[in-house]
């Protein structure tokens, strides 16, 4: 590779160190904040070392209704709602994408190109862009305030279809032909070959989609009016607003720590497959 050049090196380091400060430091502040009591958090300077109130705060946050005086659901219920939404979105998207990529790559059917472009359009116009008409449809179908309404419209998108299409295209035709000679029909090929061969891609996609689903804000805000269907990310804006009146920073910090936790857990458990799926160069 290219030799070292001192000036370029310096710039590289600078950029990277700045990146760390912007990303890592606030997370530390958040963790520290979640481990002190409410009074300490109002004193200046803000503490930079963890306190001893972590589990006390955890209990208070999880079982209480978040901040006093706000009208959100209890945090444990919001976590559950978020989890249900994130899981339905990620699993639903992966299942549909796998099937449609399979259809596009391996089947010849009339108007194939037409359908291909229809799928393509959803990629160009994600749900946020057409959020109003989508809201209308969901409302008309009576799916407001339901898990189905929360997840279905976000499932119908094509990003993942394209990823699987790309993946399937790299599978040599001879593999399919060899499988056919070995007596494997289309569905057998799908389950015996495509799914196992896409393993790392599925894992990587699951992580990305779970985080995507977890972080949805605008859509849940639109379609949930019932407190019991609120998601955790929805509470954050409300808490910041509430903080202006009752600055219970220890609870706010703990809530946002809890909101961060599931994505991190998913990343950590899937990490090996995820990294493989992202990094793996095609052989």
């Amino acid at each position: 590779m290219i030799e070292n050049r001192p000036v370029l090196d310096f710039i590289t380091y600078l950029v990277l160190i700045l990146g760390i400060i912007i990303i890592a430091f606030p997370i530390w502040v958040m963790f520290v904040g979640a481990s002190h009591d409410g009074i300490r958090m109002l004193q200046v300077p803000i503490p930079l070392l963890p306190g001893d109130q972590f589990f006390q705060n955890l209990k208070e946050t999880l079982l209480g209704s978040g901040l006093e005086g706000t009208s959100t659901a209890p945090v444990w219920l919001m976590l559950l709602n978020s989890l249900a939404m994130a899981l339905s979105i990620s699993i639903g998207k992966i299942a549909i994408s796998l099937l449609s990529a399979f259809a596009i790559v391996y089947f010849r059917f009339p108007f194939k190109m037409f359908f291909f472009w229809m799928i393509f359009i959803t990629l160009m116009l994600p749900v946020e862009v057409r959020i109003l008409p989508t809201f209308e449809v969901v409302a008309d179908l009576g799916m407001l305030n339901s898990y189905v309404g929360l997840s279905i419209p976000l499932i119908a998108s094509a990003t993942a279809t394209f990823m699987f299409r790309q993946m399937f295209m790299t599978i040599p035709d001879e593999l399919l032909e060899s499988a056919r000679l070995d007596g494997a029909g289309p569905m057998k090929f799908f389950f015996d070959f495509l799914i196992p061969l896409s393993r790392t891609n599925i894992a990587a996609l699951f992580v990305v989609l779970f985080i995507y689903g977890w972080n949805q804000y605008l859509w849940p805000l639109l379609i949930t009016t019932d407190r019991s269907k609120y998601t955790i990310v929805m509470s954050i804006k409300q808490m910041i607003e509430a903080a202006e009146q009752t600055p219970e920073w220890h609870i706010i910090m703990m809530t946002s720590l809890l909101a961060m936790l599931p994505p991190i857990l998913v990343v950590l458990t899937m990490q090996k497959l995820f990294v493989k799926g992202l990094i793996e160069s095609e052989k």
Partner: protein
Amino acid sequence: MANVSLKNVKKVYPGNVTAIKGVSLDIADGEFVVLVGPSGCGKSTLLRMIAGLEKIDDGEVFIANQVVNEKEPSERDIAMVFQNYALYPHMSVYNNMAYGLKNRKVPKEKIDQLVKEAAKTLELEGLLERKPKALSGGQRQRVAMGRAIVREPKLFLFDEPLSNLDAQLRAQMRVDIRKLQRQLRVTSIFVTHDQIEAMTVGDRLAVLNNGELEQIGTPMEVYSKPASEFVASFIGSPRINLVSGEVKAGSLHVDGFELPGFSQISDQPVKVGIRPEDFVLESTAKMSLQIDLVEELGSDELLYCVSPTGLDYRIRRPGGSGHKVGENITVSVISEKLHLFSSQSGKRLN
């Protein structure tokens, strides 16, 4: 084990491109036939039509005297070895070999027995638990062979199975495949673009060009009596010398010489083919050539020569003769060793 028969088989691609222009071919039970030709000649397409991986647009393919045009590939009872081996990357060697048998609902113990036998034949016993990516090129090739033989099919199809191996391994596998086929006696069709492989691996050789069968015969028939200018220039290394000439009143006029004794050929312009090894070096010969380049191949050497009229000739001689660039030599060729082809059709005349 079965005979295979193609009857005027055609393949037309969209846009009316005829890839296979009516090929008829009979392969006897247990025979080993090689399909050879340059890339794009349709040899792989023909093989894939026999396998059922390409639709047959016209004509009929018989396997064991049954028309198989409409049969699924898996119902034709054939096994195929692909150029890139097409091993299943997520399965162990054992499962690669067993997968086809499992789909045929062969009982587990029987599968186990068949796979182990095949592994023994191909010396793969220590590798059964490995994944394909942990194997060397030669081992992968043998796994692909194993996957083919374990099913005990009626017909083996080989689609350039040796082209990803290095030269020494290729020479070795060539001999191994030949011996294995002799031992199993399964009818086999082998596609290659390599003329040395084509000459050595099979019982008969079918030379394809441009979707048409140019010649079929034993390797020596094809080499010593090429049916067309194309076959003459494709088979044989170093390449045959091809010079333009003319037959006039029973005599061949070529490069300034007149050779009598071609009275059976009507007057016409011809192409004259001379194999590089058919030149005889004699001090009294008529033809005088100047050496332009000498390639020493060890056991042989190849002299690139120019005639006084500016034509190029390749002459093959035993190695170590000490010929130098710039030297003049005199050579002759006996008339029986000349190959004459029509300038129009390219077909053999003598």
